[in-house]
Symmetry: C2
Subunit: 221 residues, 2 copies
DNA sequence: GACAAGATGGCAGAGACTGTCAACATGGCG
DNA sequence: CGCCATGTTGACAGTCTCTGCCATCTTGTC
Protein backbone atom coordinates (compact mmCIF):
# COMPACT_ATOMS: atom_id res chain seq x y z
CA UNK A 1 0.00 0.00 0.00
CA UNK A 2 1.49 3.30 -1.06
CA UNK A 3 1.59 6.51 0.84
CA UNK A 4 -1.04 7.96 -1.45
CA UNK A 5 -3.35 5.07 -0.67
CA UNK A 6 -3.05 5.58 3.04
CA UNK A 7 -3.67 9.25 2.61
CA UNK A 8 -6.84 8.69 0.66
CA UNK A 9 -8.25 6.03 2.94
CA UNK A 10 -7.82 8.36 5.86
CA UNK A 11 -9.33 11.24 3.88
CA UNK A 12 -12.88 11.90 2.66
CA UNK A 13 -13.12 8.16 2.04
CA UNK A 14 -16.48 7.91 0.26
CA UNK A 15 -15.41 9.01 -3.22
CA UNK A 16 -13.29 7.21 -5.70
CA UNK A 17 -9.92 6.86 -4.18
CA UNK A 18 -8.25 6.50 -7.56
CA UNK A 19 -8.91 10.16 -8.26
CA UNK A 20 -7.32 11.27 -5.05
CA UNK A 21 -4.32 9.05 -5.64
CA UNK A 22 -3.82 10.57 -9.06
CA UNK A 23 -4.14 14.00 -7.59
CA UNK A 24 -1.42 13.36 -5.07
CA UNK A 25 0.86 11.94 -7.72
CA UNK A 26 0.23 14.98 -9.87
CA UNK A 27 1.04 17.29 -6.99
CA UNK A 28 4.26 15.42 -6.34
CA UNK A 29 5.23 15.85 -9.96
CA UNK A 30 4.51 19.57 -9.96
CA UNK A 31 6.45 19.97 -6.73
CA UNK A 32 9.43 18.12 -8.13
CA UNK A 33 9.54 20.34 -11.20
CA UNK A 34 9.16 23.45 -9.08
CA UNK A 35 11.97 22.48 -6.74
CA UNK A 36 14.22 21.70 -9.68
CA UNK A 37 13.64 25.15 -11.15
CA UNK A 38 14.06 26.85 -7.77
CA UNK A 39 17.37 25.07 -7.27
CA UNK A 40 18.57 26.23 -10.67
CA UNK A 41 17.53 29.87 -10.51
CA UNK A 42 16.20 30.68 -7.06
CA UNK A 43 12.66 30.94 -5.74
CA UNK A 44 11.92 34.52 -6.75
CA UNK A 45 13.33 34.11 -10.26
CA UNK A 46 10.88 31.37 -11.18
CA UNK A 47 7.30 32.32 -12.02
CA UNK A 48 4.28 30.12 -11.48
CA UNK A 49 3.74 30.13 -15.24
CA UNK A 50 7.14 28.57 -15.74
CA UNK A 51 6.48 25.88 -13.16
CA UNK A 52 3.17 25.12 -14.79
CA UNK A 53 4.76 24.88 -18.21
CA UNK A 54 7.48 22.58 -16.89
CA UNK A 55 4.88 20.34 -15.28
CA UNK A 56 2.56 20.39 -18.31
CA UNK A 57 -0.38 21.98 -16.62
CA UNK A 58 -1.99 25.40 -16.81
CA UNK A 59 -1.13 27.94 -14.18
CA UNK A 60 -4.82 27.92 -13.26
CA UNK A 61 -4.47 24.28 -12.33
CA UNK A 62 -1.33 25.01 -10.36
CA UNK A 63 -3.36 27.21 -8.05
CA UNK A 64 -5.96 24.50 -7.73
CA UNK A 65 -3.27 22.18 -6.43
CA UNK A 66 -1.45 24.69 -4.25
CA UNK A 67 -3.22 27.68 -2.76
CA UNK A 68 -0.12 29.79 -3.22
CA UNK A 69 3.35 29.62 -4.72
CA UNK A 70 4.77 29.20 -1.24
CA UNK A 71 2.74 26.08 -0.68
CA UNK A 72 4.50 24.17 -3.40
CA UNK A 73 7.53 24.24 -1.13
CA UNK A 74 5.71 23.63 2.15
CA UNK A 75 3.41 20.83 1.06
CA UNK A 76 4.26 17.21 1.46
CA UNK A 77 2.46 13.92 1.04
CA UNK A 78 2.08 13.53 4.76
CA UNK A 79 -0.08 16.61 4.94
CA UNK A 80 -2.89 14.84 3.18
CA UNK A 81 -4.05 12.45 5.88
CA UNK A 82 -4.92 14.46 8.92
CA UNK A 83 -2.25 14.68 11.55
CA UNK A 84 -4.71 13.21 14.02
CA UNK A 85 -4.43 9.81 12.39
CA UNK A 86 -0.77 9.72 13.26
CA UNK A 87 -1.49 10.91 16.73
CA UNK A 88 -3.85 8.08 17.57
CA UNK A 89 -1.71 5.46 15.93
CA UNK A 90 1.25 5.78 18.25
CA UNK A 91 1.81 3.66 21.34
CA UNK A 92 0.59 5.28 24.52
CA UNK A 93 2.87 7.08 26.88
CA UNK A 94 1.92 8.02 30.39
CA UNK A 95 2.62 11.67 29.84
CA UNK A 96 1.05 13.92 27.19
CA UNK A 97 4.36 15.74 26.92
CA UNK A 98 6.27 12.56 26.29
CA UNK A 99 3.71 11.41 23.80
CA UNK A 100 3.94 14.66 21.89
CA UNK A 101 7.66 14.29 21.68
CA UNK A 102 7.44 10.73 20.44
CA UNK A 103 4.96 11.72 17.75
CA UNK A 104 7.01 14.70 16.63
CA UNK A 105 9.99 12.44 16.47
CA UNK A 106 8.18 9.87 14.40
CA UNK A 107 6.93 12.44 11.92
CA UNK A 108 10.35 13.91 11.53
CA UNK A 109 11.87 10.52 11.13
CA UNK A 110 9.36 9.30 8.57
CA UNK A 111 9.88 12.25 6.31
CA UNK A 112 13.57 12.07 6.80
CA UNK A 113 13.74 8.44 5.76
CA UNK A 114 11.22 8.76 2.94
CA UNK A 115 13.22 11.07 0.70
CA UNK A 116 16.19 12.82 2.15
CA UNK A 117 17.02 14.83 -0.98
CA UNK A 118 13.49 16.10 -1.39
CA UNK A 119 13.36 17.18 2.23
CA UNK A 120 16.72 18.87 1.93
CA UNK A 121 15.64 20.79 -1.16
CA UNK A 122 12.47 21.97 0.52
CA UNK A 123 14.25 23.01 3.69
CA UNK A 124 16.85 24.89 1.69
CA UNK A 125 14.24 27.08 0.08
CA UNK A 126 12.17 27.40 3.24
CA UNK A 127 15.17 28.66 5.17
CA UNK A 128 16.52 31.01 2.54
CA UNK A 129 13.30 32.68 1.35
CA UNK A 130 11.84 34.98 4.00
CA UNK A 131 8.21 34.68 2.97
CA UNK A 132 8.39 30.90 2.81
CA UNK A 133 10.31 30.73 6.04
CA UNK A 134 7.67 32.72 7.85
CA UNK A 135 4.98 30.34 6.73
CA UNK A 136 7.16 27.36 7.53
CA UNK A 137 7.59 28.52 11.08
CA UNK A 138 3.91 29.30 11.49
CA UNK A 139 2.95 25.91 10.17
CA UNK A 140 5.26 24.09 12.57
CA UNK A 141 3.77 25.93 15.48
CA UNK A 142 0.25 25.20 14.34
CA UNK A 143 1.12 21.51 14.04
CA UNK A 144 2.70 21.39 17.46
CA UNK A 145 -0.30 23.11 18.98
CA UNK A 146 -2.73 20.84 17.24
CA UNK A 147 -0.93 17.82 18.55
CA UNK A 148 -0.55 19.13 22.00
CA UNK A 149 -4.15 20.21 22.33
CA UNK A 150 -5.36 16.90 20.95
CA UNK A 151 -3.30 14.97 23.42
CA UNK A 152 -3.95 17.29 26.31
CA UNK A 153 -7.65 17.04 25.54
CA UNK A 154 -7.60 13.27 25.70
CA UNK A 155 -5.97 13.53 29.09
CA UNK A 156 -8.56 15.96 30.37
CA UNK A 157 -6.24 18.94 30.44
CA UNK A 158 -7.43 22.23 29.10
CA UNK A 159 -5.59 23.10 25.90
CA UNK A 160 -5.64 26.78 26.76
CA UNK A 161 -3.45 26.30 29.76
CA UNK A 162 -0.43 28.54 29.57
CA UNK A 163 1.69 25.49 30.19
CA UNK A 164 0.32 23.52 27.26
CA UNK A 165 0.79 26.34 24.79
CA UNK A 166 4.23 27.32 25.95
CA UNK A 167 5.44 23.76 25.79
CA UNK A 168 3.95 23.20 22.34
CA UNK A 169 5.73 26.24 20.99
CA UNK A 170 8.96 25.30 22.73
CA UNK A 171 8.88 21.85 21.22
CA UNK A 172 8.43 23.42 17.84
CA UNK A 173 11.55 25.39 18.64
CA UNK A 174 13.42 22.17 19.18
CA UNK A 175 12.26 20.86 15.82
CA UNK A 176 13.22 24.06 14.10
CA UNK A 177 16.68 24.18 15.60
CA UNK A 178 17.29 20.54 14.73
CA UNK A 179 16.17 21.09 11.16
CA UNK A 180 18.36 24.15 10.74
CA UNK A 181 21.35 22.36 12.18
CA UNK A 182 20.70 19.38 9.93
CA UNK A 183 20.53 21.66 6.93
CA UNK A 184 23.66 23.60 7.76
CA UNK A 185 25.48 20.30 8.09
CA UNK A 186 24.61 19.51 4.48
CA UNK A 187 22.01 16.94 5.48
CA UNK A 188 24.64 14.42 6.51
CA UNK A 189 23.81 14.17 10.21
CA UNK A 190 21.09 12.09 11.73
CA UNK A 191 18.04 14.30 12.05
CA UNK A 192 16.49 12.20 14.80
CA UNK A 193 19.59 12.47 16.93
CA UNK A 194 19.72 16.23 16.42
CA UNK A 195 16.12 16.49 17.54
CA UNK A 196 16.91 14.51 20.67
CA UNK A 197 19.78 16.86 21.34
CA UNK A 198 17.53 19.86 20.96
CA UNK A 199 14.97 18.43 23.36
CA UNK A 200 17.70 17.79 25.87
CA UNK A 201 18.92 21.36 25.41
CA UNK A 202 15.42 22.57 26.08
CA UNK A 203 15.20 20.53 29.25
CA UNK A 204 18.54 21.83 30.47
CA UNK A 205 17.97 25.43 29.49
CA UNK A 206 14.59 25.52 31.10
CA UNK A 207 16.11 23.93 34.14
CA UNK A 208 18.34 26.93 34.54
CA UNK A 209 15.23 29.02 34.21
CA UNK A 210 13.78 27.83 37.49
CA UNK A 211 15.50 30.24 39.86
CA UNK A 212 14.86 33.13 37.47
CA UNK A 213 11.20 32.27 37.20
CA UNK A 214 10.86 32.38 40.95
CA UNK A 215 12.59 35.72 41.11
CA UNK A 216 10.36 37.38 38.49
CA UNK A 217 6.90 38.12 39.88
CA UNK A 218 8.05 41.28 41.61
CA UNK A 219 8.11 44.62 39.76
CA UNK A 220 7.55 45.61 36.12
CA UNK A 221 10.67 47.76 35.61
CA UNK B 1 13.38 64.08 23.82
CA UNK B 2 10.80 62.23 21.79
CA UNK B 3 10.91 58.67 20.67
CA UNK B 4 11.58 59.78 17.14
CA UNK B 5 14.58 61.75 18.31
CA UNK B 6 16.09 58.79 20.06
CA UNK B 7 15.52 56.64 17.04
CA UNK B 8 17.30 59.03 14.78
CA UNK B 9 20.25 59.61 17.06
CA UNK B 10 20.81 55.89 17.20
CA UNK B 11 20.36 55.58 13.44
CA UNK B 12 22.59 56.56 10.50
CA UNK B 13 23.44 59.65 12.52
CA UNK B 14 25.36 61.67 9.97
CA UNK B 15 22.45 63.14 8.02
CA UNK B 16 19.98 65.73 9.09
CA UNK B 17 18.02 64.22 11.87
CA UNK B 18 15.04 66.43 11.14
CA UNK B 19 14.39 64.49 7.96
CA UNK B 20 14.34 61.17 9.74
CA UNK B 21 12.09 62.51 12.45
CA UNK B 22 9.62 63.69 9.84
CA UNK B 23 9.78 60.32 8.18
CA UNK B 24 8.90 58.49 11.36
CA UNK B 25 6.03 60.84 12.05
CA UNK B 26 4.77 60.27 8.52
CA UNK B 27 4.98 56.52 8.96
CA UNK B 28 3.06 56.73 12.20
CA UNK B 29 0.35 58.69 10.46
CA UNK B 30 0.06 56.21 7.61
CA UNK B 31 -0.03 53.34 10.07
CA UNK B 32 -2.78 54.99 12.08
CA UNK B 33 -4.92 55.50 9.00
CA UNK B 34 -4.30 51.93 7.87
CA UNK B 35 -5.25 50.45 11.22
CA UNK B 36 -8.38 52.54 11.29
CA UNK B 37 -9.46 51.22 7.90
CA UNK B 38 -8.54 47.66 8.81
CA UNK B 39 -10.62 47.88 11.96
CA UNK B 40 -13.58 49.14 9.96
CA UNK B 41 -13.52 46.69 7.08
CA UNK B 42 -10.90 44.02 7.70
CA UNK B 43 -7.33 43.70 6.45
CA UNK B 44 -8.08 42.01 3.13
CA UNK B 45 -10.90 44.39 2.23
CA UNK B 46 -8.66 47.45 2.31
CA UNK B 47 -6.33 48.09 -0.61
CA UNK B 48 -3.02 49.88 -0.40
CA UNK B 49 -4.44 52.51 -2.72
CA UNK B 50 -7.14 53.27 -0.20
CA UNK B 51 -4.66 53.52 2.66
CA UNK B 52 -2.54 55.85 0.58
CA UNK B 53 -5.52 58.01 -0.29
CA UNK B 54 -6.59 58.17 3.36
CA UNK B 55 -3.08 59.21 4.39
CA UNK B 56 -2.67 61.70 1.55
CA UNK B 57 0.26 60.03 -0.12
CA UNK B 58 0.69 58.11 -3.32
CA UNK B 59 0.69 54.33 -3.16
CA UNK B 60 4.23 54.43 -4.50
CA UNK B 61 5.23 56.33 -1.40
CA UNK B 62 3.43 53.84 0.78
CA UNK B 63 5.75 51.16 -0.51
CA UNK B 64 8.71 53.37 0.14
CA UNK B 65 7.68 53.58 3.78
CA UNK B 66 6.66 49.96 4.21
CA UNK B 67 8.17 47.19 2.09
CA UNK B 68 4.84 45.40 2.04
CA UNK B 69 1.26 45.82 3.11
CA UNK B 70 1.89 43.45 6.01
CA UNK B 71 4.62 45.69 7.36
CA UNK B 72 2.25 48.53 8.07
CA UNK B 73 0.83 46.31 10.80
CA UNK B 74 4.11 44.89 12.05
CA UNK B 75 6.16 48.07 12.16
CA UNK B 76 6.50 50.17 15.24
CA UNK B 77 8.55 53.14 16.30
CA UNK B 78 10.80 50.97 18.38
CA UNK B 79 11.99 49.12 15.32
CA UNK B 80 13.86 52.15 14.17
CA UNK B 81 16.70 52.27 16.64
CA UNK B 82 18.53 48.98 16.55
CA UNK B 83 17.53 46.50 19.20
CA UNK B 84 21.11 46.40 20.31
CA UNK B 85 20.82 49.82 21.85
CA UNK B 86 18.24 48.50 24.26
CA UNK B 87 20.36 45.49 24.96
CA UNK B 88 23.36 47.45 26.15
CA UNK B 89 21.32 49.89 28.12
CA UNK B 90 19.94 47.44 30.63
CA UNK B 91 21.46 46.70 34.02
CA UNK B 92 23.73 43.68 34.07
CA UNK B 93 22.60 40.31 35.26
CA UNK B 94 24.90 37.45 36.03
CA UNK B 95 23.25 35.13 33.59
CA UNK B 96 22.74 35.74 29.85
CA UNK B 97 19.45 33.92 30.09
CA UNK B 98 18.20 36.14 32.86
CA UNK B 99 19.38 39.21 31.06
CA UNK B 100 17.54 38.18 27.92
CA UNK B 101 14.39 37.77 29.90
CA UNK B 102 14.74 41.15 31.54
CA UNK B 103 15.26 42.81 28.19
CA UNK B 104 12.33 41.06 26.58
CA UNK B 105 10.26 42.09 29.52
CA UNK B 106 11.31 45.69 29.24
CA UNK B 107 10.55 45.86 25.54
CA UNK B 108 7.14 44.35 26.02
CA UNK B 109 6.44 46.68 28.86
CA UNK B 110 7.57 49.80 27.04
CA UNK B 111 5.35 49.18 24.07
CA UNK B 112 2.55 48.21 26.34
CA UNK B 113 2.73 51.40 28.29
CA UNK B 114 3.37 53.65 25.30
CA UNK B 115 0.06 53.14 23.55
CA UNK B 116 -2.11 50.28 24.67
CA UNK B 117 -4.82 50.82 22.06
CA UNK B 118 -2.38 50.97 19.19
CA UNK B 119 -0.71 47.77 20.34
CA UNK B 120 -4.05 46.08 20.75
CA UNK B 121 -5.16 47.06 17.25
CA UNK B 122 -1.95 45.77 15.73
CA UNK B 123 -2.10 42.50 17.63
CA UNK B 124 -5.71 42.01 16.63
CA UNK B 125 -4.85 42.11 12.95
CA UNK B 126 -1.64 40.17 13.37
CA UNK B 127 -3.46 37.33 15.09
CA UNK B 128 -6.45 37.19 12.79
CA UNK B 129 -4.74 37.50 9.42
CA UNK B 130 -2.76 34.37 8.54
CA UNK B 131 -0.18 36.03 6.34
CA UNK B 132 0.49 38.78 8.88
CA UNK B 133 0.53 36.31 11.72
CA UNK B 134 3.17 34.21 10.02
CA UNK B 135 5.43 37.22 9.65
CA UNK B 136 4.68 38.34 13.18
CA UNK B 137 5.83 35.02 14.54
CA UNK B 138 8.93 34.95 12.37
CA UNK B 139 9.86 38.45 13.44
CA UNK B 140 9.55 37.65 17.12
CA UNK B 141 11.84 34.68 16.71
CA UNK B 142 14.38 36.71 14.80
CA UNK B 143 14.35 39.33 17.56
CA UNK B 144 14.78 36.78 20.29
CA UNK B 145 17.65 35.17 18.46
CA UNK B 146 19.32 38.47 17.80
CA UNK B 147 19.15 39.33 21.46
CA UNK B 148 20.27 35.99 22.66
CA UNK B 149 23.20 35.76 20.30
CA UNK B 150 24.28 39.30 21.17
CA UNK B 151 24.22 38.54 24.84
CA UNK B 152 25.69 35.10 24.51
CA UNK B 153 28.46 36.58 22.42
CA UNK B 154 29.31 39.13 25.06
CA UNK B 155 29.62 36.30 27.56
CA UNK B 156 31.90 34.31 25.32
CA UNK B 157 29.32 31.65 24.51
CA UNK B 158 28.94 30.51 20.96
CA UNK B 159 25.62 31.68 19.57
CA UNK B 160 25.28 28.57 17.47
CA UNK B 161 25.03 26.33 20.51
CA UNK B 162 21.92 24.25 20.37
CA UNK B 163 21.13 25.49 23.84
CA UNK B 164 21.25 29.15 22.93
CA UNK B 165 19.01 28.78 19.92
CA UNK B 166 16.47 26.55 21.60
CA UNK B 167 16.19 28.90 24.51
CA UNK B 168 15.82 31.94 22.29
CA UNK B 169 12.95 30.33 20.42
CA UNK B 170 11.35 29.10 23.62
CA UNK B 171 11.45 32.54 25.13
CA UNK B 172 9.80 33.88 22.06
CA UNK B 173 7.14 31.25 22.66
CA UNK B 174 6.56 32.70 26.09
CA UNK B 175 6.14 36.16 24.60
CA UNK B 176 3.74 34.88 21.99
CA UNK B 177 1.59 33.04 24.47
CA UNK B 178 1.48 36.03 26.76
CA UNK B 179 0.50 38.34 23.92
CA UNK B 180 -2.25 36.01 22.74
CA UNK B 181 -3.61 35.64 26.22
CA UNK B 182 -3.51 39.39 26.71
CA UNK B 183 -5.41 39.91 23.49
CA UNK B 184 -8.03 37.28 24.18
CA UNK B 185 -8.65 38.96 27.52
CA UNK B 186 -9.54 42.17 25.69
CA UNK B 187 -6.28 43.85 26.65
CA UNK B 188 -7.38 44.35 30.22
CA UNK B 189 -4.79 42.14 31.94
CA UNK B 190 -1.27 43.16 32.81
CA UNK B 191 0.92 42.06 29.94
CA UNK B 192 4.06 41.96 32.06
CA UNK B 193 2.46 39.64 34.57
CA UNK B 194 1.25 37.34 31.81
CA UNK B 195 4.75 37.17 30.44
CA UNK B 196 6.09 36.24 33.86
CA UNK B 197 3.51 33.51 34.05
CA UNK B 198 4.55 32.15 30.68
CA UNK B 199 8.20 32.07 31.69
CA UNK B 200 7.28 30.21 34.83
CA UNK B 201 5.24 27.76 32.77
CA UNK B 202 8.28 27.17 30.64
CA UNK B 203 10.42 26.49 33.67
CA UNK B 204 7.89 24.06 35.07
CA UNK B 205 7.41 22.29 31.77
CA UNK B 206 11.12 21.79 31.60
CA UNK B 207 10.99 20.16 34.96
CA UNK B 208 8.71 17.53 33.56
CA UNK B 209 10.89 17.31 30.49
CA UNK B 210 14.00 16.18 32.29
CA UNK B 211 13.20 12.49 32.72
CA UNK B 212 11.98 12.29 29.13
CA UNK B 213 15.10 13.89 27.80
CA UNK B 214 17.23 11.34 29.56
CA UNK B 215 15.16 8.51 28.18
CA UNK B 216 15.39 9.65 24.56
CA UNK B 217 18.83 8.93 23.09
CA UNK B 218 18.02 5.29 22.45
CA UNK B 219 16.32 4.19 19.22
CA UNK B 220 14.71 6.06 16.31
CA UNK B 221 11.32 4.37 16.68
C1' DG C 1 -23.47 4.07 -24.13
C1' DA C 2 -25.41 7.74 -21.16
C1' DC C 3 -25.15 10.40 -17.25
C1' DA C 4 -23.25 12.86 -13.16
C1' DA C 5 -19.28 14.50 -10.86
C1' DG C 6 -15.05 16.22 -11.10
C1' DA C 7 -10.83 18.12 -13.31
C1' DT C 8 -8.94 21.26 -16.57
C1' DG C 9 -7.75 25.33 -19.47
C1' DG C 10 -8.38 29.95 -21.05
C1' DC C 11 -9.63 34.49 -20.27
C1' DA C 12 -10.36 38.66 -17.95
C1' DG C 13 -9.33 41.27 -14.01
C1' DA C 14 -8.03 42.78 -9.20
C1' DG C 15 -4.41 43.90 -6.39
C1' DA C 16 0.53 43.88 -4.57
C1' DC C 17 4.76 45.41 -5.77
C1' DT C 18 8.92 47.50 -8.75
C1' DG C 19 11.72 50.41 -12.02
C1' DT C 20 12.14 54.68 -13.96
C1' DC C 21 12.02 59.45 -14.39
C1' DA C 22 10.82 64.05 -13.91
C1' DA C 23 9.20 67.45 -10.53
C1' DC C 24 9.77 69.05 -5.98
C1' DA C 25 11.37 70.14 -1.18
C1' DT C 26 15.09 70.76 2.03
C1' DG C 27 19.29 72.11 4.18
C1' DG C 28 23.81 74.02 3.72
C1' DC C 29 26.85 77.54 1.74
C1' DG C 30 28.73 81.48 -0.60
C1' DC D 1 19.25 85.83 -1.36
C1' DG D 2 20.31 82.36 -4.91
C1' DC D 3 22.46 77.99 -5.95
C1' DC D 4 23.69 73.33 -5.53
C1' DA D 5 23.52 68.63 -3.59
C1' DT D 6 20.71 65.48 -1.62
C1' DG D 7 16.80 63.32 -0.59
C1' DT D 8 11.54 62.78 -1.31
C1' DT D 9 7.53 62.39 -3.99
C1' DG D 10 4.04 61.25 -7.66
C1' DA D 11 2.86 59.35 -12.08
C1' DC D 12 3.06 55.73 -15.19
C1' DA D 13 3.85 51.45 -17.10
C1' DG D 14 4.69 46.89 -16.30
C1' DT D 15 5.24 42.16 -13.84
C1' DC D 16 3.51 38.71 -11.06
C1' DT D 17 0.39 36.32 -7.86
C1' DC D 18 -4.04 34.91 -7.31
C1' DT D 19 -9.42 34.62 -8.27
C1' DG D 20 -14.04 34.14 -10.62
C1' DC D 21 -16.23 32.41 -14.43
C1' DC D 22 -17.46 29.31 -18.01
C1' DA D 23 -16.96 26.05 -21.65
C1' DT D 24 -14.81 21.63 -22.35
C1' DC D 25 -13.07 17.29 -21.49
C1' DT D 26 -12.23 12.92 -18.34
C1' DT D 27 -13.58 9.57 -15.20
C1' DG D 28 -16.29 6.46 -12.70
C1' DT D 29 -20.99 4.44 -12.41
C1' DC D 30 -25.01 2.21 -13.93
Amino acid sequence: MTLADQAVEAGAGRQSMARARRRIRAKCHVQAEALRLFAERGYAQVTVDEIARAADISSRTFFRYFPSKEDVVLWDEYDEPSLREEVWGLPLAEDPLERTILILRKIIYDEYLADRDLLFARISIALSTPSVRARFVAQQIADAELMFSTIAGSWGMRAEDLDARVMAASLYAAVMVAVERWHSGGGRDDLGRLFDGAVRALAEGAWRLQPIGLRLPSSPG
